[in-house]
């Protein structure tokens, strides 16, 4: 039973790893810079493993999710600033995901984009209302495994494996112009943000409490965070690598959410295209639900209200009203006609700005022996945690200037 739980947890993490921002930025980064940014994905994945494991451990031991702790550790004023900033970042991300799902549905059915956005949102509302937490998490996560077709596609197109592996070593390609160097920096920051989105830790730690984790679940937590995120990252790297081989040499810039689906269509034809679109649909849908719930979790936890989908919607009414309102607000943003790609760009920039404030209280609490006792951060977790925290701060400081200087990587 424990092995089944573990396998399901890992598979769910794999299927739920990729969202619309990763689809967009992995494909664009591969097309523009070949394999040169793979090392950024690898480092960011280790970062999300470290913070994901930490947030799950804190939830299991202190029984407190991120936002409860944030207010207690940072105080009301700073906590409120983090709440507002992360709420807006998550809302934009949720809108980007709904827009992404609407585009995939439009590709599959030919129906109008705005109608598909409405249909997708209603489907998400019905899912979250009716299904218990574990079903929501598992169904979208496991069906997102259709995305594995991209890994198969990478193998099928016989990439230059040595060059691909070389991309995992930290380096900046030689001979880049000043303009390309800035764009390289922008894509590096965007990939860090897309892999380490703050909603992931809000959702992960809240989910651990929904699933009633305790000390006995720390093994599952560690394996899910390490193995699940590592395999999910392989999926993301496949998107980047196929794009590097397929789109880059042809001078194609994958500027549409649907373009990555072609990566599976080339080696596998219609079946590949269908599997890719299904995988994208479920993976992005899962991310839309996670970002929406992350906002409801954070607001309710900050004010101490009842929260969670382990209880019927009417038993946690303010939580239910919040996620309904977030879905509605995200839909309104999509219906204004803003391009999902544009929203994804705003989402990664807004999220990286919030990341340092999100992870600081988590780091402080995970190392606090008063709360965590024997399960507090050891030397390795402390070193990795503060090391990645420094990286996040550098990325956060550089994000906005790079976005403006490169016009969102378009230069």
């Amino acid at each position: 039973m424990r092995i089944t739980e573990l396998a399901l947890g890992i598979l769910t993490a794999v299927g739920g790893f990729v969202d619309v921002s990763e689809l967009v930025f992995m494909s664009q980064a591969g097309s523009r810079f070949g394999y040169a940014l793979i090392w950024v994905v690898v480092i960011s994945t280790i970062g999300i493993m470290v913070f994901g494991e930490m947030s799950g451990r804190v939830a299991a031991i202190a029984k407190q999710p991120v936002f409860n702790l944030m207010r207690h550790r940072l105080g009301l004023k700073l906590g409120l600033i983090v709440l507002i900033a992360s709420f807006l970042a998550n809302l934009i991300t949720c809108a980007a995901e709904i827009g992404g799902v609407a585009l995939v549905l439009r590709l599959m059915t030919g129906a109008p984009y705005r109608l598909m956005a409405l249909v997708a949102t209603l489907l998400f509302i019905a899912s979250v209302w009716v299904l218990p937490f574990k079903w929501i998490e598992r169904s979208y996560g496991l069906l997102g495994l259709f995305m594995l077709v991209f890994v198969a596609a990478l193998v099928a197109i016989h990439p230059p494996w040595a060059a691909l592996a070389g991309g995992a070593l930290p380096h900046v390609p030689a001979g880049l112009s000043h303009r390309d160097l800035l764009a390289f920096g922008y894509f590096a920051v965007a990939l860090i943000s897309a892999v380490m989105f703050p909603y992931e830790t809000y959702f992960y730690s809240s989910g651990a409490i929904e699933d009633k984790w305790g000390p006995k679940d720390l093994g599952i937590n560690r394996l899910t965070a390490i193995v699940g995120f590592a395999l999910g990252s392989l999926l993301a790297i496949s998107l980047l690598a196929i794009s590097a081989q397929m789109f880059g040499p042809a001078g194609i810039s994958p500027d549409l959410v649907g373009t990555p689906a072609l990566q599976a269509a080339v080696p596998f034809g219609t079946i590949g295209l269908l599997l890719a679109l299904l995988g994208m649909f479920f993976a992005i849908s899962g991310a839309a639900i996670e970002t929406c719930l992350a906002n409801a979790y954070s607001l309710c936890q900050f004010f101490g209200w009842r929260w969670g989908r382990h209880q019927p919607p009417r038993n946690a009414p303010r939580f239910t009203l919040t996620w309904l309102a977030v879905f509605a607000a995200a839909l309104v943003i999509v219906l204004t006609g803003v391009e999902p790609i544009q929203l994804a760009e705003y989402a990664v920039v807004a999220s990286i700005l919030v990341l340092p404030l999100t992870y600081l209280p988590l780091l402080l609490l995970a190392g606090d022996r008063h709360f965590m006792q024997a399960y507090a951060n050891g030397a390795l977790a402390k070193t990795l945690g503060w090391g990645f925290y420094a990286l996040i701060i550098v990325a956060a400081v550089a994000a906005l200037p790079l976005y403006l200087l490169t016009s969102g990587g378009a230069l």
């Binding site: 202190a62 029984k63 407190q64 409860n68 207010r71 207690h72 105080g75 009301l76 004023k77 906590g79 409120l80 209302w129 009716v130 299904l131 218990p132 079903w135 309710c300 936890q301 900050f302 004010f303 101490g304 209200w305 009842r306 929260w307 019927p312 919607p313 009417r314 946690a316 009414p317 303010r318 239910t320 009203l321 709360f371």
Partner: protein
């Protein structure tokens, strides 16, 4: 920490999650009401829960915004109702008996009575 022990820092208590006797979340310690006289013993009289409790801890512009959005309500939970203090403040009675469920009850009125799978 026990409620009858010495609280050396109000900061240890403020902004902690409150759960009722049934383990339900029912607010945050937004502030505390103190009783006592200069030169005498200072005691915690009650926990303050609600916008009226935390608004005065915010900058002026933000205070006005909070009043506009969330009102100025504040529930006083007598100190004797506190059973224990760990990473949460546990109360001796249910939230409804202490007036801590009004916000949830108001929100519930907006929701349809549609069930969900267990």
């Amino acid at each position: 920490m026990k409620p009858d022990g010495r609280l050396t820092l109000i900061a240890q208590l403020r902004d902690l999650q409150i759960v009722d006797a049934e383990g339900m979340h029912c607010g945050i310690v937004d502030d505390v009401a103190l009783a006592g006289k200069p030169g005498g013993v200072l005691r915690i009289e009650a926990l303050l829960v609600g916008p009226g409790g935390y608004a005065k801890r915010l900058p002026g512009w933000c205070r006005a915004l909070v009043r506009l959005v969330a009102g100025n309500g504040c529930v006083k939970v007598p100190w004797r109702e506190v059973e224990s203090i760990t990473s949460v403040v546990k109360l001796r009675h249910e939230a409804a008996a202490l007036g801590l469920d009004r916000g949830e009850a108001r929100a519930r009125r907006w929701l349809p009575a549609i069930g969900a799978l267990k």
